[in-house]
């Protein structure tokens, strides 16, 4: 499948996967008077991209690699084969990657929101791009994987590369909040889209940095070249350890203000968005 076209589908705000109901902290920032217009919003989006955006992009790239590895492992196997022959092999790895996302998400409210979005994305994507990797992920984290983990796995199932998965994560980390601000503050939608257009180069940079964080972690005897699915450790003794090593340098940038906004949002009795 053409990864470019799949990337467009995956990052389109019309993708029916529940994303429209999340503001990424913007609703609370508006309530507190922290975001009042396009100037504040521009700073908010830039900060969000540099922190949560980068972390989610890297997690999405990592998940995309893992899903692609699962697919190669599963190739040639009978789809009805018992779980120990391949697909289920991924369960502990998916749990581990999901735990990596947990460890990088300080706010319980954000973890909850990320799992809700991940669960809904997985539900939608399993009908759009059915794959053994998505089934394995659903089985590994039945309460719902973190959104970037789900996004990366879905991207792989749709035929995208890890860099494309990272780009989709970076993109949605700013477009959702931007749309929420348009709805909440009645901002000129063209002005807000100009902000997004100005961020476009930074989105590409974020995706590249996300992939580089994976490659940085490859042991010296590996080949830390480009972020490509072929280069992950594959199935071998110590596969689990090899993947964990690969995830060692995943970024963990924190954004305390976003954490506080997410927690504060939950206490707002008049909230319109889930997060």
């Amino acid at each position: 499948m053409d990864g470019d076209a799949a990337l467009l589908l995956l990052s389109d705000s019309r993708l029916p996967a529940g994303g429209h109901a999340h503001s990424g902290g913007v609703e609370e920032a508006v309530r507190l008077g922290e975001v009042t217009g396009t100037g504040d919003l521009a700073r908010f989006l830039r900060g969000r991209l540099a922190t949560a955006g980068l972390v989610t992009a890297a997690l999405a790239a990592a998940a995309c690699e893992l899903a692609a590895a699962d697919r190669e492992l599963g190739a040639g196997l009978d789809p009805g084969a018992p779980p120990e022959n391949g697909a289920a092999d991924g369960v502990p790895l998916w749990r581990r990657l999901d735990a990596e996302a947990d460890a990088r998400t300080a706010s319980p409210a954000q973890r909850e929101a990320a799992r809700t979005q991940g669960r809904l994305l997985l539900r939608t994507a399993r009908r759009m791009w059915p794959s053994a990797a998505l089934d394995t992920l659903a089985r590994a984290v039945p309460e719902g994987p973190h959104h970037p983990v789900a996004l990366g796995a879905v991207a792989a199932s749709a035929g995208c590369t890890p860099r494309q998965a990272a780009l989709a994560a970076a993109y949605t980390s700013v477009t959702g909040p931007a749309t929420a601000a348009v709805r909440l503050l009645g901002l000129d939608p063209v002005t807000v889209h100009r902000l997004l257009a100005d961020l476009a180069p930074a989105l590409g940079d974020t995706a590249r940095a996300a992939c580089a964080s994976l490659d940085d972690a490859v042991p010296a005897d590996g080949e830390p070249d480009e972020c490509r699915a072929e280069e992950h450790p594959g199935r071998q003794p110590g596969r689990h350890a090899a993947w964990r090593a690969r995830w060692r340098a995943l970024p963990g940038h924190s954004a305390p203000a976003l954490d506080l906004l997410a927690e504060g949002h939950l206490t707002n009795p008049m909230k319109l968005f889930v997060s």
Binding site: A17, P79, A81, P82, P83, R119, A138, P142
Partner: protein, 237 residues
């Protein structure tokens, strides 16, 4: 159904699950009152679940909980990010998740009611979310509303015109509303109610009961079964 099955159904596999009933309509027409009335009338005979889509967080869900007509845990609230129609029509993921969560926790259920957030005359439920839908109007919106049509009025399986007790006060002619609704609804039923006076909305409850019975005849007795979101490939034994 498995991951490799061509699953292009409008809604989740209907066999052996609850009927999903959407209730939509403009703000203030009496949707929540109708849900409460249906819970009162049908609660003794049917296993129920309710999903609400409030504009502001859990207002309607709280109203239902306070009304004491259904176990509060059987009500789930979905937030819609300023776009109630999106959540029932264009992106139904959160509502489906809520419906299946109820079925998972309390199933098997006979009927899951999904109440939309108050919206406009064009807001209808996706067939991927609701198997049947009721559109609720009230007479105080004016007796021209049925004539204006819109997908809610024309396509809902049942049109309910509520607050008939107010008709004389707002100068609404029920005969006109009835005639106009019939003209645009192609024979589909219309019921006039005053839920303030008939707390069980009995005529509507009878219609819903007939729908649930027909659903059960067609798709079998609801039973617990693997849900789409759960792991689908059972280990070979």
């Amino acid at each position: 159904m498995g991951a490799h099955h061509d699953d292009l159904h409008d809604a989740a596999e209907p066999h052996g699950r609850a009927l999903r009933l959407g209730i939509g309509g403009p703000v203030g027409s009496g949707k929540t009152a109708l849900v409460a009335a249906l819970c009162r009338s049908l609660g003794p005979s049917l296993r129920l679940g309710v999903v609400t889509n409030d504009i502001y967080t859990t207002e309607d869900a709280d109203f239902l909980r306070r009304a004491g007509v259904i176990d509060p845990e059987r009500i789930l609230a979905v937030q819609t990010g300023c776009c109630p129609h999106t959540a029932i029509r264009d992106d139904i993921a959160a509502n489906l998740d809520a419906v299946e969560t109820l079925e998972e926790r309390f199933g098997p259920l006979d009927l899951v009611i999904v109440e939309s957030g108050g919206d406009n005359l064009t807001a209808t439920f996706s067939r991927g979310l609701a198997d049947r839908q009721i559109f609720v109007l009230d007479v105080s919106g004016g007796d021209k509303v049925p004539r204006k049509g819109g997908p809610g009025v024309t396509s809902a399986d049942l049109l309910v015109v509520n607050k008939t007790d107010l008709a004389p006060m707002v100068g609404a002619d029920l005969t006109v509303m009835s005639r106009d609704a019939a003209a645009v609804r192609d024979g589909k039923p219309v019921l006039f109610t005053s839920i303030r006076e008939d707390k069980g909305a009995h005529t509507v409850a009878e219609w819903v009961t007939r729908m649930v019975d027909a659903w059960r005849r067609e798709h079998g007795e609801p039973h617990r079964h693997a849900l789409p979101n759960a792991a689908q490939q059972a280990p070979a034994s």
